[in-house]
């Protein structure tokens, strides 16, 4: 029990998802209008663009939780979801407190980078994925568990694009079972087919698959933090732990019955590659492989791991867990102002957005068309600022008729492309004070006359003098 409490408190993070604002407004639109917001209404660059919002089911949840429980509620629900994922992943195995603690440690370290922004569709996706793992493991002994797979995948396909991974894992496991259990083949084929086909029941049908595959190989994704490799300045990716975990998985694979380990190996190999190239896959990799490690730890007579024979172990474990609990409740969370978390804290932790700037903009709406910092788009949408955006967190993959606002944004905002800047003929620019585009406006003579209309510690708002 104490292991669970320590893990749960470790999984509480202040809510700072940069995309929270547009998720909230999409959820609001769905619940108040009774229809999906398919075409874009928030940007001026790609207004009317028809977008495959594969996490549409997540949006009304965010809307409800924000209105009912606020930021703290979003954080606690996120912790609860990730904690439940761990529970389902380990539920099938006979584990003592020491083994459970070891698993909790690796689970926490591997998943942290995907769940530490508070409730996001990515972290919510861990729950159906862990349920799939649970059902597949239990279903090996008893096929009645497998019958629930289509239901879980149906829900999953309407919550987040990583359902494709869930469907792939299901296919791999059922495929292996197909050869291992000849007497169950018809059942396995039926369940497998139903599980895959049911994922097409979503507002975008097969387009959801296409949207997920569009992420592969997009060069501009490297400009989005979560798509960068974990080895690049990521203190929450815990690369040494990730490496150690892979070694332990290899050990587990060779130590255990190959019939148990084979589907995990097939799933793990491509996921390791994906995780090495994009940190966003780390939590998915953790969830998909933890049962293999759990099985390894639960095998009796394993002398290397039989540390419970030492008298000190229960005391040391209880002490460490108590310290972790204290650290979370009294040091880490208060340091993030968690117990009194407000919009200023949200801005401070998420993208250094400025509530004061927004107040100013609400009272003094910008005229014409302008450029805004990508990371603040979600917050602006939440605040219903009285102007249309250049770009926001939804738009990194949007392309229509050869045009993509995000690509131009990168060129103008970060690469100081003066020609492109002039082409847009901006009326205003909103950026953080030391952004490359700010430097360009200040230093370049050929961009027209600009004045700083508003500035604070985190933001600067330029208006063009015509």
């Amino acid at each position: 029990m104490f292991v669970y409490v320590a893990l749960f408190t470790s999984l509480i993070f202040p809510h700072w998802d940069k995309d929270w604002g547009w998720h909230y407004r999409y959820g609001e639109y769905l619940l108040t209008h009774g229809e999906f917001l398919i075409r874009d209404i928030y940007s001026w660059t790609m207004s009317g663009y028809a977008w495959i919002n594969h996490s549409w089911g997540f949006d009304p949840i965010v809307y409800f939780l924000t209105n009912t429980f606020g930021f703290m509620g979003l954080s606690l629900v996120n912790a609860g979801i990730v904690f439940l994922s761990f529970y389902f992943l380990t539920k099938s195995f006979k584990l003592g407190p020491v083994q459970l603690s070891i698993l909790a440690f690796f689970f926490y370290q591997i998943t942290e980078t995907g769940v530490f922004e508070g409730l996001r569709s990515q972290s919510l996706a861990l729950l159906p994925l862990s349920l799939i793992m649970y059902l597949l493991i239990k279903g090996k002994e008893n096929t009645k568990y497998l019958k629930f797979l289509p239901l879980v995948l149906f829900v999953f396909a309407n919550l987040h694009g990583s359902f494709v991974l869930g469907a792939a894992i299901t296919a791999v496991f059922l495929g292996i079972y197909f050869f291992q259990y000849p007497d169950r083949r018809w059942k396995l084929v039926l369940i497998g087919a139903a599980s895959v086909l049911i994922t097409l029941i979503n507002p975008f049908t097969y387009h959801s698959y296409l949207e997920v595959f569009r992420h592969t190989g997009n060069p501009y994704l490297q400009n989005v933090t979560e798509w960068r490799p974990p080895s690049l300045s990521c203190s929450d990716c815990h690369v040494p732990t990730f490496a150690a975990y892979i070694v332990l998985l290899v050990l587990a694979f060779f130590a255990l019955d190959k019939r148990f380990g084979l589907p995990f190996a097939i799933v793990a190999i491509p996921l390791i590659w994906e995780s090495v190239t994009a940190r966003r896959y780390l939590p998915l990799f953790g969830v998909a492989t933890l049962p293999l490690f759990a099985e390894f730890l639960s095998v009796k007579g394993n002398k290397i791991l039989d540390i419970e024979r030492f008298k000190i172990v229960p005391f040391a474990l209880a002490f460490v867990l108590f310290i972790v609990l204290e650290y979370n409740l009294f040091i880490r969370l208060p340091a993030a102002n968690f117990y009194k978390y407000n919009e200023y804290d949200y801005c401070n932790y998420s993208s250094k957005c400025s509530p004061d700037l927004v107040k100013y903009l609400m009272n003094n709406p910008p005229a014409g068309y302008g450029l805004n910092f990508y990371d603040w788009g979600g917050y602006f949408i939440y605040k219903q600022v009285p102007f249309k955006l250049f770009v926001d967190g939804r738009m990194h993959l949007w392309r229509g008729k050869g045009y993509g606002a995000f690509a131009d944004y990168i060129e103008v905002y970060y690469h100081k492309d003066e020609a492109k800047f002039k082409e847009y003929d901006f009326d205003w620019v909103i950026a953080y004070p030391d952004a490359p585009v700010v430097q360009m406006i200040k230093e370049s003579k050929g961009l027209g006359s600009w004045r700083i209309q508003y500035q604070d510690q985190y933001s600067v708002y330029f208006v063009r003098e015509r």
């Binding site: 040494p240 030492f310 008298k311 000190i312 040391a316 002490f319 460490v320 108590f322 310290i323 972790v324 204290e326 650290y327 009294f330 040091i331 880490r332 208060p334 340091a335």
Partner: protein, 513 residues
């Protein structure tokens, strides 16, 4: 004298020399003809706050002021150690910073004696005693290996958490550890003999400790009472011990809450601990060896000395992660019980090796355990050596030092000096004068005051500049060579309400008319 004792003395001398080698080197060979300020890279901004107490004592004060803030205050800080050091400096005529370092070295020697005496309660065999002595003085964590990935590792930046690093700290840090160990020595004697004399001496040690590091008593009081209770199963004497040890703490709490300066200082003294992982790395292999040591003792049966060590560690860490704003400070001394248990663990591990190879293995392990301590020395050399003629922090030019001394001789004791943060940190220590801003914690509303200084030098409105100086009762403005305050458009000569009173070799001092 026994051979092992002689080895311990030689080893102590070696460690003290090693700890102080960066200081000795840069005092002998300062950079670019400048004057070395005598501070290292850890807690560097604190050195001159303590030197300011010595300087005040030299100038006749018995009770001190916080010279780093300008709010009205009466002298009310009682620091016996700095009073004595100040008096010694006055008699011998040495500078306050020199007295500070001489006191550190003398107290380091006394600490080694106290440690040796403390360890005698745990080991009968002389070689085990000497090995443990060496481990406590030098063993550290793995911070040196992971400095780039985990800069939070405690052996890199929390000197009170590692004995070796604490020997480079201020005199009262070392004195606190002496008093802490002495108090525990009398406690162990009291446990054995139930002698009232030991109880009184124990009380005196912790009472004295309350004037140096009162927060240490926050861990001492529960450690004493719980150890006694776990050892003798009697509640009343345990509570008596807690009461005796807590006297000084109670007095300090009353002094703090009734003194606005101390209260403000304390409120800004936010020192939370880093994440538990920083401790695991920071104590590294000694944690593992300590676990082996505890296992060994648990199998043998725990006796009171070991119960003291375990309670000390447990109480410290439970309190370090509790909601106390200065909780990081509670780590002071906890390295000692961890290293003792690690040494016991090392002995238990060595049994698995052949008799002939044990000494060699022990030597290698102790060397490996001390790598982070060696790294700390190297780091001091590295950062101090980075000072150059136009960009320095650990040195000061001779001209600037002379000018600060001039200020000390030609200004009144209650005058307030405005300068950059760098000089603001040094002036109280060298000249015993108050500064507008000079220390992150001791200057009340430090960041607000720095912003005010920035506004003052950036402002083109002469009237508001005069109002700022008058409002804060600032008497002098100090500008060093290439002073940051003069990098912009600020020109003090153009201000009619300032008169140039010192102008030598690029250093200027203005008096507010």
């Amino acid at each position: 004298m026994k051979k092992q004792t002689i080895i311990a003395i030689i080893f102590s001398a070696f460690v003290i020399l090693a700890v102080n080698s960066p200081l000795i080197y840069f005092y002998l060979f300062p950079k670019n003809g400048m004057e070395f300020l005598g501070r290292g890279h850890i807690n560097s901004q604190d050195v001159y706050t303590y030197v300011s107490f010595i300087e005040q004592a030299k100038r006749g004060a018995a009770v001190f002021q916080n010279l780093y803030t300008t709010e009205p205050q009466k002298p009310s800080l009682i620091r016996p150690s700095y009073f004595i050091i100040g008096q010694a400096a006055k008699i011998t005529g040495v500078s306050s910073i020199a007295a500070y370092h001489v006191a550190r070295i003398i107290l380091s020697i006394i600490f080694c004696f106290a440690l040796y005496r403390f360890l005698k309660h745990f080991f009968d065999k002389e070689n085990e005693l000497t090995t443990t002595f060496a481990m406590v003085l030098t063993a550290s964590g793995l911070g040196f290996a992971v400095a780039n990935f985990l800069p939070d590792s405690i052996d890199l930046w929390i000197p009170e958490a590692v004995t070796f690093l604490s020997l480079f700290e201020a005199p009262h840090f070392i004195l606190s550890q002496i008093l802490l160990l002495s108090g525990y020595i009398f406690f162990l004697e009291y446990l054995k003999n139930k002698s009232a004399q030991d109880l009184i001496l124990l009380g005196l040690m912790f009472f004295a400790l309350s004037f140096e590091h009162p927060f240490n008593l926050v861990t001492v009081v529960p450690t004493l009472s719980l150890t006694y209770f776990f050892s003798r199963k009697k509640l009343d004497p345990a509570l008596l011990l807690a009461g005796v040890a807590a006297i000084g703490l109670v007095i300090q709490v009353i002094l703090t809450i009734t003194n606005p300066t101390l209260l403000s200082w304390q409120a800004q003294n936010n020192l939370p601990p880093p994440a538990p992982s920083a401790f695991l790395i920071g104590y590294g292999l000694i944690t593992l060896l300590a676990l082996v040591g505890i296992e060994e003792k648990m199998r043998e049966g725990l006796y009171p000395q070991i119960k003291l060590l375990l309670t000390w560690i447990a109480v410290t860490f439970v309190l370090v992660f509790s909601p106390i704003n200065f909780s990081r400070r509670l780590l002071e001394g906890v390295h000692v019980p961890i290293a003792i248990l690690a040494s016991i663990g090392l002995s238990a591990t060595l049994i698995k090796f052949g008799k002939d190879s044990r000494k060699a293995v022990a030597f290698i392990i102790i060397c490996v355990l001390s790598l982070s301590s060696v790294y700390a020395i190297f780091k001091n050399f590295e950062v101090i050596n980075q000072d150059v003629k136009d960009n320095y922090y650990y040195h000061i030019t001779k001209e600037e030092a002379k000018a600060i001394e001039w200020l000390g001789e030609n200004s009144a004791p209650n005058d307030i000096i405005l300068s950059t943060r760098f000089f603001g940190n040094l002036i109280p220590g060298i000249a015993a004068r108050k500064v507008f801003a000079g220390h992150l914690i001791q200057t009340t509303n430090f960041h607000g005051k720095i912003n005010e200084i920035n506004s003052f030098v950036q402002s083109t409105d002469k009237n508001s500049a005069q109002i700022f100086l008058a409002k804060n009762k600032i008497n002098y403005l100090f500008f060093g060579i290439n002073d940051q305050m003069l990098q912009g458009n600020f020109d003090p000569k153009s201000l009619a309400f300032l008169s140039l009173v010192y102008d030598r070799d690029g250093v200027q001092i203005f008096k507010v008319k």
